[in-house]
Symmetry: D2
Subunit: 339 residues, 4 copies
């Protein structure tokens, strides 16, 4: 196992695959009225210790884009990091769903929006009336695209800015489980208690087959979400097979176990290579960005290791560790890297 | 088994479920570069005996809507039957994807566009220049929403109109397999040889878990289809699990067997109740619309039978027979209906 | 003067042209902060005897389309007559502005929505949840595209249906002045007192150069209308020249005088030809649709008369009388028609 | 006359106003089939010494946004300067018209895209397939938003990049006349001979009432432009009054005279204050950005001078000189500034 390219390339966890099989019991209501889907709201409300509304989906792009359409009018602006998936990796989907809302990049170190930069950006916004987009929302990625994690203090600072400017706060939680176990806090603390209004929760990268969810914490944004899903073609008829994945993902803290395992592999690797490789960002979750001699990168490739050479750089690679990465594979990679 | 409400409520066929499990072999490329997805074009080209491009998707609405965006500009008009799924059952998705194209209803008996009415509609279109939508495409559903099937002669008549007005021809094949076995013709004859430019091919209703495909026969419409998929949130990362379904669906003619079975149940039911119930449309595939005394409808409901009372009527019900409907279940329904 | 093709082809009334010249006094604030534009709200509030918000625009399509976007979400349905300008003459603009809302035709005699048909249409809507568009608004044209006028009783019946289904009521008042003088009621009675939530008020056809206005009576729809205008490119920088037209249009009841004149010409023509021509609709305003022998139609054309042969008919023509149609021209047309 | 806030606040030039009056001769064809509108293509073809197609409009935002929709698909990217009007001053209109295309800022000194930065930006684009927007076009503003002018050499460098990456080249010519007289080259040299595919030509700021035009030089982009205009509500019925402005604007080189006058005022001011004020950019056209002591800025304001304090700065103001700025007014402003 030499694949460190993406957790999207990992297989489905056997427990989740079994849940899919178990859901294949005869006929069942379609379009979300099955017994699995009908459990979701209650299950997530227990988990997050609050009211919430859950919309099961098959992709994170769908979750992020419906979230954007709920938060931002067609003439709205959403502030995000320059590396944000919604800005650079979704082929304009948030603009498409929202009818033309703009994504405004706000820089910051370690893949995270800097609160001061955000304050400054907003200070220079909104003085030009209808000529400008209406500041509408902030979207943060947790874990960030740099594999880092916003601390609660950082979230609090951003939330204060959101409140001051009456902006919605969205969390792209494609790797939320990895962030959660990294911080050792509760789902509630990590989201609505920190002021998150809506979250895209990913399960696919962390062991599911295709299962994501848009979770609405603030009822203000709970508006015709089922119609948004349908009109974007995301209402899966046999939804039980999505919902069953989400339930199995949460049961017995499977999601946390899987994320903890993935994070541990990344931590072990970071520690193992720390003398030989420059780590670009703090390693808080399951991704490691490191600078290596080009000859070393080429050597690893020749030995069959799979990873991303990072665009815009010559000697930086991204390594992603997953629920299915074995400790042996991690150790082999360490050895190959440092020898 | 008393569920005749929709083939969407049927379980996944075991062969297809096994194919999903078999695809869960370790790590694999994501986003369609896995070994299953990479087979699709060749597999469908063999099947259809022509060049074609296949875009695997999870819903028929996505396939129909991307097809609309490919065929019709934002200022285009698409002609369809008043009962067409794209017009009445997709919450405006085709208008959303295309950026505002209009769907123009063209009536016809038995759920099928009438060629003369279409000719008349087009005769009165296009004289008002830019004030009007640009006639762009025709979309037919095969099998139709009335469970009927366009004959090759009917298709030919519509294609001639399409050619005369330079319109694309799209087939919504949510139940294409059922139409195919009904007509006993080849996939090629039923589609591109009859002039179909693009088809939404459904597998979900006929035994898959969630697997549909947009198939482009006319290279003119093969334009950035992967970007259309991505920006609408339909690029599933672990695509191997969709593609494996499609491959298993076709292997050993499974799709035809399943459809033949479903159609047979419908035919048996139609014959069995013909003395007691008025059939609204010819029964050519796996759906039966019949008029029954209201007391009989209520009695069936009380006995636990599930079906749709048809909107806009008082005494018409729709019964759908599926790959998983047993002959015994069909016979029991016949008995319950005629006794 | 033999032009009866459209009131859009008539010249600008001299009083309005003079108002444009008078507005050309040195420098003035742009984008609607000039002294003319700043008067509009108060001027229209006096006229309509109520709170209202006025958005000056250059075209009726812009007014109708922004109105649609304000009333209907992207997944909304707007009910209108099959002949409605928004449905058949705006190249899909309402669908574009709203992000994909659907326009649902509701038939009725004399170019007016029939209340019973509307009731029936709505009875069959809304049972299919997210699969369907959300019923959102009704749009009526006053005068209608057939040159007829909804009576207050007819408006009341439609408003009752709107209230029952929680639908917004929009009036396309491209020829509102003609309707008003036809009914001899006040602007208030004709609009908000009859339940109209938003109106597109046209001045261009009735003597202005290019001046229309979206008028919001119901504050519920007064949401970021200036941003809607800007992002559709309709924020004219030197807006004083639009607003000055609107003010002159209303001053000294000019608009009513002009409309009364136009209506009188139509009435005179209708009476003058009544023995020789079949009138298709009651003549209530400034348009006459009449059936004539084809030889007569051709003869009129040969004599240089300009009018529309009505699409979809062989022997029906539309004649439009305007503020600039002289009584002599009308009499000559009568003579030419009946001789 | 103390208004240096914007050329949008200047009055209409008397010659152009007279042309409007002269166009008010009785009835005339509507929607662009009048004698004035029908002259436009030929008139502009003479002017630009090439084939071109002209679409008269009332706002520059409309011209820019239709241009964007013609150049970029909904999944396309358009590269522009961070200060570009289309990016920061049009409330998202280009994203709206195009259905979600992204505007990518590319920095550069003096309000102009830097060719090296553009090369670098494009080098890092396009490696991520469908996850990314498709590089589609470059939009430059001439004169730029900083009042500077791209030299022919600068245009050539950008065009070379456009060609290399198969990108369309759009020029936002809201103040094109000012750029032209600044460079002393022909309209042909300044546009299509420099590789411009489409241009938004403004007349409003330079003496018209409301008259802009989208000019298509490359027939590849001449696709259903009238439908784009109609569906965005920009088809003015009495178009003769727009077209007459454009004709008068060009006749006898009026546009060049007016622009030359405005530029001269700016040059005189820049020279007059050069010892006392820091000029932020080279003064090439009719705008001056200068840094002054805050007390001086306040003093000018107290004396009734109107100008923009530049957002994001404390002591920078923008002064715009227009066709209607008198030399006396300019001299007074110089005196007030330097004393």
């Amino acid at each position: 196992m030499k694949n460190f390219r993406s957790d999207n390339e990992a297989p489905v966890n056997p427990v989740i695959l079994a849940a899919i099989q178990n859901a294949n019991q005869g006929f069942s209501e379609s379009y979300g009225y099955d017994q699995w889907s009908l459990q979701l709201n209650e299950r997530f409300q227990q988990l997050f210790e609050c009211w919430c509304e859950v919309l099961p989906l098959t992709t994170g792009t769908a979750a992020n884009s419906i979230a954007t359409a709920l938060m931002a009018p067609p003439y709205g602006a959403v502030y995000c990091h320059p590396q944000a998936h919604i800005l650079v990796d979704e082929c304009g989907a948030p603009g498409f769903f929202s009818g033309g809302a703009g994504l405004i990049p706000v820089a910051g170190a370690d893949g995270k929006i800097d609160a001061n930069t955000l304050t400054e950006t907003l200070r220079n916004s909104g003085h030009h009336g209808e000529h400008e987009l209406l500041p509408s929302a902030i979207s943060i990625t947790q874990c960030s695209e740099a594999g880092t994690v916003y601390s609660l203090a950082e979230l609090k600072a951003i939330k204060a800015i959101a409140d001051k400017h009456d902006l919605a706060l969205h969390m792209d939680g494609a790797r939320f489980a990895n962030a959660l176990v990294s911080q050792n806090i509760s789902p509630a603390q990590a989201t609505w208690q920190a002021g998150v209004d809506l979250m895209s929760l990913g399960a696919t990268k962390n062991g599911a087959m295709m299962a994501e969810a848009l979770i609405i914490f603030n009822p203000k944004f709970n508006k015709e979400i089922r119609r948004w899903r349908k009109r974007s073609g995301h209402l899966v008829s046999k939804m039980r097979f999505i919902s069953a994945q989400l339930l199995a993902y949460l049961d017995n803290d499977l999601w946390l176990q899987l994320a903890r395992h993935a994070n541990q592999q990344a931590a072990d690797f970071a520690e193992g290579v720390s003398q030989k490789a420059e780590l670009l960002y703090p390693v808080s979750a399951n991704e490691v960005f490191c600078r290596l001699p080009i000859t070393k990168i080429e050597q690893l490739e020749q030995h069959g290791y799979l990873f991303h050479r990072w665009p815009g750089t010559k000697d930086v690679i991204r390594l992603v560790f997953s629920h299915a990465t074995t400790p042996e594979a991690t150790q082999q990679l360490i050895n190959a890297t440092i020898k």
